[in-house]
């Protein structure tokens, strides 16, 4: 699918902002594009959308279960419905609506989880979504996507809009630099993107953690002469097992990275595939451990748990040491 926002390639913006501009361009050509919000249009960067397309935005108020139920009804009539709410509320509060009204009834709602992971920082665990991959992975008929950069975000929205199937997309708030300038390295739902090749170790990361993984790979090259590969596994379900297999065959170790609980997310999905298909490798899941999450800003929390350039480089060295 071609770029409709050509500037996407240049600036490092929050993925959410790209989501909003992409949606406005879709809405301009298609009056069936409808956004549903739950007092969340500000955090979803959708105020300009609401001003431009007041007929294509439905405000529900603070009622996320209702939001998803209404979105399912809208989608059932063929409207391209985007239900937008903080990931924490969307995927916990409205989980039964997602399971039954969206996935099971096969209404092609595009569920947009905003300010995901620990984006809300010091607002604490009520506002964090460290469970969303886990709970949604256990629901049949739902694609799960965490775009890493502005390009992946734009493409994910465009492809989701045409998918005709239930899909969950998760976005954070911070500015995301482009992972690669290589235009040939395109984005397709369900296909991981190899951002950097390398034979010593592979980082399989998703969403906004791909960037620090890429930085860690650079650091390991500079400081340790290691040749480290980085994959943006933007689609967590269905998982690109062919790419996983290929990486297991061509690198010595695998580290998964996600802004999610270490339980039930990308890491465990990869582990389950690799082990059950006899591709066992030295393997480490980096995410938020199963504990009362440390308090602080998003950056402080991520640094605390080693989801950072230095933290990931240290984890890589430690893992490679075990097989030296």
């Amino acid at each position: 699918m071609e770029h409709i926002t050509t500037e996407v390639a240049k600036a490092a913006k929050p993925n959410l902002e790209v989501f909003s501009t992409t949606l406005q361009q879709l809405a301009a050509h298609d009056r069936d594009v409808v956004v549903v919000t739950s007092d969340s249009r500000g955090s979803g960067k959708l105020v300009p959308f609401g001003k431009k397309y007041p007929e294509q935005i439905v405000e529900i108020g603070i009622a996320e279960q209702n939001l998803v139920g209404v979105a399912a009804g809208l989608a059932s009539t063929g409207k391209k419905t985007f239900a937008v709410s903080p990931a924490c509320f969307l995927t916990a509060r409205a989980l039964e609506q997602i399971k039954n009204d969206v996935a099971y009834s096969d209404n092609a709602v595009k569920l947009i989880g905003i300010s995901a992971g620990v984006s809300y920082g010091a607002l604490g665990s009520t506002h964090h979504s460290l469970h969303d991959y886990a709970v949604l992975r256990a629901i049949n008929n739902l694609t799960i996507v965490a775009p890493a950069d502005n390009y992946e975000t734009e493409q994910a929205i465009l492809q989701a809009s045409e998918l005709g199937k239930p899909i969950y997309l998760r976005f954070g708030k911070k500015n995301m630099p482009l992972l690669t300038e290589d235009r040939a390295n395109t984005f397709t739902l369900g296909k991981g993107r190899m951002i950097k090749a390398g034979k010593d170790l592979t980082f399989i990361a998703t969403g906004e953690t791909v960037y620090p993984a890429l930085e860690a790979a650079g650091r390991l090259q500079r400081e340790n002469g290691l040749d480290v590969s980085v994959v943006s596994m933007h689609t967590i379900k269905p998982l690109d097992t062919a790419l996983l297999k290929e990486r297991a065959e061509h690198t010595r170790a695998i580290i998964t990275v996600e802004e999610h609980s270490v339980n039930g997310g990308l890491g465990e999905a990869c582990a389950a595939y690799l082990l059950q298909n006899h591709h066992g490798k030295p393997f480490k899941i980096v995410g938020i451990p199963d504990e009362y999450t440390v308090t602080g800003s998003q950056v402080e929390i991520l640094n605390h748990y080693g989801i950072s350039e230095t933290g990931l480089a240290d984890t890589a060295l430690a893992l490679l040491n075990t097989i030296a």
């Binding site: 007092d39 969340s40 955090s43 010091a122 607002l123 665990s125 009520t126 440390v294």
Partner: protein, 269 residues
Amino acid sequence: MVESELIAKSKEYRQKILKYIVGANAGHTGGSLSCIDILNVLYNVVLNTRPENFASPDRDRYIQSKGHCVEALFVVLADKGFFPEEDLNTLCRYQSHYIGHPTRKVNGVEQNTGALGHGLPISVGTALAAKMDKRDYRVFTLLGDGELPEGSNWEAALTAAHYKLDNLCAILDKNSLQITGPTADVCNTDPVDEKFESFGWAVKHVDGHDLKAIKEAFESMPFEAGKPSLIIAHTVKGKGVSFMEHSVSWHHGVPNAEQYAQALEELSI
């Protein structure tokens, strides 16, 4: 506490709310200022809850459903001696227990809130336990008006009336604003009094900044024997600071140095 003392407390609390929001460079300014007079009366007149009896099963419970206005709660809890006020200098800092919503890691906080629409169901359960155990404590919960569309509120409202929980009092901070705009434009819940009455609640309206009226409303609880009580507190979001009043942008706006100085000046009059 006599009325003049209560008035002085409200002033002091408002100044401190802003102080700690400025210190943390984060916070829910408008909604903290709209509910602080209610918290003032609750903690200084109504609740039997003290640091000394906080472990007692007979203490009154206060559960803040609109958890985002944590600064109002923390300032009052510090004043009542639940923790040293200087702890609030760590608000929202790395590894501090004083985060942007109430958590039980902080002494005096009953429940972890922040996701809206949870306070009323928990309060119903807590009040129901008092009935089961024949205890005299009462349960108070503060709801935001934007929060009301959460269905859990209405489910709990049914349960409260069904079990005749006249030891339960919900206070609605009706400041008429939420994040997107006026509550009436986002999802109208009016006439909210008639809705709760039809659900089996006894309802009173008060001026949510008239300390005497708030006190009298609490003192007349239960408004009707065998019914849960709802106080609809008509409030002003951002109350006390002219440029914050009735303004959506101060929902979680943080004053800059100049605005902070002006706010303090207005609040000291």
